[in-house]
Symmetry: C2
Subunit: 183 residues, 2 copies
């Protein structure tokens, strides 16, 4: 599966929430997510544009995710592989034993909406600010460009400006903020 | 937790099964386990005496385990960290993306017994033969020597000869068999 996703940095969430309401987008849930990112001992994921993430949801669910390099030019489409794991502390300890190093932690609260084939994440990220992500999934690489266009069209409808598009990941934004990403 | 475990290579399982019966050891279950072992891209786990294992049980349960180097001199005590994972194929794919390489597969059928604080595994391992493992768990490194002595005493009671002790792991035995472990 490929995730086709465009992220916008927004001044506030007010306008988008009104637009979602007027489109009859369905509110799915509120979640709190703590993401712990790891770097590989073999290569620098910041350079190869990969990511290894342990996500902890508000209800305690733990998910380990590998993200491959971004494929599209506008969005941030990636190959994604995830497994649910039953024990956070043991997982973190296993990753440390295998020489993965924690590089950043991203804490966000998100309201998740569904509209047609799309998922819309209205995100407040600690230390980083307010964002909206519009996402859809496709099975086939060939469908990525078409899906990206549809995602951008929905962004328009929602009043999200193209110059608000933020191609950097939360991890990259956090690393920049930490000053770890200086050349 | 530390696993204190002694493994014996046995000519057959007949004698041990009689002894288990006469001690009133409790039969717990029969399992089939397929173990897939991975090597690290950073260091050779065969040399550092570590192991990264994906175990698939007969009922489909998937467990990822890191094993640290052996600590005791007679047994094969190690630090062990495990998590249960919900999706085998995604887990294997994540490990491959992180540059872990599959080195061996060990398939065994085991009858598991409980006797006092001990677990006894009566194992038939594909390509390797018949084994018995006697195991107990301790919380504290200080208790390992005492627990090892108790495991050996139970081994005696079960008719397991000291010269049957096999200090090598199934992984090492399998790698030897594959001729990959030649100096």
């Amino acid at each position: 599966m490929f995730e086709v996703e465009v992220k916008y940095r927004v001044p506030s969430h007010d306008v988008i929430k009104d637009k979602l309401k007027s489109l009859n987008a369905k509110f799915l849930e509120h979640t709190e997510e703590t993401d712990i990112y790891f770097n590989s001992p073999v290569r620098d994921f910041a350079k190869t544009d990969e990511a290894l993430r342990v996500r902890v949801y508000g209800d305690g669910t733990v998910v380990l995710t590998y993200k491959g390099p971004r494929i599209g030019s506008i969005g941030k489409t990636r190959e994604e592989l995830s497994v649910t794991v039953n024990d956070l502390e043991s997982l973190l300890e296993i990753l440390r034993k295998l020489d993965f190093r924690e590089v950043a932690k991203v804490v966000k609260r998100r309201d998740i909406y569904n509209y047609e084939n799309f998922t819309i994440y209205v995100d407040s990220v600690e230390e980083l600010g307010s964002f909206v992500e519009v996402e859809t999934m496709v099975n086939d690489k060939e469908l990525i460009d078409k899906a990206t266009e549809e995602v951008l069209q929905l962004g328009n409808k929602l009043g999200l400006r193209r110059d608000w598009i933020e191609r950097k990941t939360y991890l990259e934004l956090m690393l920049e903020r930490q000053g770890l990403n200086k050349p």
